[in-house]
Symmetry: C2
Subunit: 287 residues, 2 copies
């Protein structure tokens, strides 16, 4: 089995924050000796080589042919288009993705004859930055990662992806794709929408940007940090997870309206109750 | 002038995150030799002594009498009640507050015969934690602080407060109280409301808390961190800054509804535009 080979070749399709960081870690560990990048953006391709994230860049076809592992790390819309093409060309290789939604991509290849070579996964790590220059060493450590619907994948393929996440020092959770998408709407997607909307609120209303620049404190920066995130990544996520995100967004607007009603009616007892209820998030947050 | 005395006594009224952290810094620097705490909560009073934040605790009356500087660092509703009483008992002492709203407290003592001994200020630093155990060394460094309506304060009083913020290595901004309150609604108060509401959204809808616990990633933690903040501090802030906060909250809900409309109508071009507009926050954020 390929998994027992000491040193392998990985094709990283989409060399950005995730693909680049993962290539760095796997090469440093020694699991892979050769990293072939597949990158549509020629500036990113050059950056990836000069930053040492990849050894070379190649066409998708060549990379798939020469690799033992294919990591699909493009924005999810592109990943969904490329995955069937990649699966058409694999035999024993293992293909895994790292996209933020899982139901749609799994549906796309559900009937593919090589479905079992694919493992659907989602490492729960990222920053608001993107592109090869955003890649960092020691990303992923101690974070959670999800493997979806592992029973649809070959045992050796799952084992290799588990080995990769072990090398990255991630904690693996298993769930089905639909449950994953609902959960991430709560713990990731809604946070991005609130942060984008908060940024637009401030940019819309506040003319004296200098005053904001000077006054913006840690609290503001932490809630609005995600608003720097890349539209090319996030629009497809919101497209694919539209129903879950809409559910959570409606609930979130309803929660905000409770705060609004408290202020309008000067009902400060209920305001206190809302805040004390929110403090319950301490139970959930690790830090 | 007292400001020229090498070593002074400070009374810290309310020994929590801000009062405690400030006392630590001023004593370490040597500006003050003696710190007298005034603390209604007896558990906090004992903690403050055992943590070395204060040398002793005393009644408000005794502390004001024996101090050169009086730092008012209680929640803002209490500060507004105590300030006139403190000013009744000062002659040459300098009194300053660190509250998150400034208009209301300044109005309260506008006609007080000792108004000039008071300097209204707001250091833009904090964490989601509170109480004496939350106090830390090296807080405030490189953050902004606001001094409001300095023309209402005596020159020597302003000079001493400026000296204190210099010791804390803060960058001082000057503005009138009403402008301050409007700005902080944007850069601080709305962030807390969105964070509280986000926490309640997740707590309300998500039954499988274990899944959230495992999946919650950096993005979620940063947007919801402020939801741990103390109701006793925040309810009075929202009371006092109600009109500004309502303006910003209404705008924020309107911005969220744009995202909702994009999803409902599957208008992903406009969604991309909204996100790209939000990316403009990079201009404002320092990091």
């Amino acid at each position: 089995m390929r998994i027992n080979k000491k040193i392998m070749t990985i094709a990283v399709v989409g060399i950005g924050l995730i693909g680049g960081s993962m290539a760095l870690a796997l090469k440093e560990h020694g699991l892979v000796r050769r990293v072939i990048g597949v990158e549509a953006n020629s500036v990113h391709a050059h950056q990836a080589i000069s930053l040492g994230l990849v050894d070379e860049c190649a066409t998708l076809e060549k990379a798939v042919k020469e690799a033992d592992i294919i990591l699909l790390a493009t924005p999810i819309g592109v990943a969904q288009q490329l995955l069937p093409i990649i699966l058409d060309h694999v035999d024993k290789q293992v293909v895994f993705d790292v996209g933020s939604t899982k139901h749609s991509i799994c549906e796309t290849i559900a009937k593919h004859p090589n479905r079992k070579r694919f493992v659907a996964s989602h490492p729960m790590w990222g920053t608001e930055n993107s592109g090869p220059t955003a890649a960092v060493k020691n990303a992923f450590v101690n974070k959670a990662t999800v493997i979806c619907s592992k029973e649809e994948s070959a045992v050796d393929a799952v084992a290799l992806v588990e080995k990769i996440y072990g090398i990255l020092q991630m904690h693996i959770l298993y769930m089905d794709a639909a449950a994953h998408d609902m959960h991430v709407a709560y713990v990731s997607h809604i946070s991005h929408i609130t942060s984008f909307a908060l940024a637009n609120t401030v940019l819309e209303k506040e003319r004296e940007e200098d005053a904001i620049f000077e006054l913006a404190s840690g609290g503001f920066e932490s809630t609005v940090r995600l608003a720097k995130s890349n539209a090319a990544m996030w629009v497809p996520i919101f497209m694919q997870n539209r129903d879950n995100v809409l559910d959570v967004l409606n609930e979130h607007i309803a929660q905000l309206k409770k705060f609004k009603a408290c202020l309008e009616k000067e009902n400060f007892d209920y305001l206190q109750e809302l805040i004390e209820n929110a403090n319950g998030i301490r139970r959930i947050l690790k830090n």
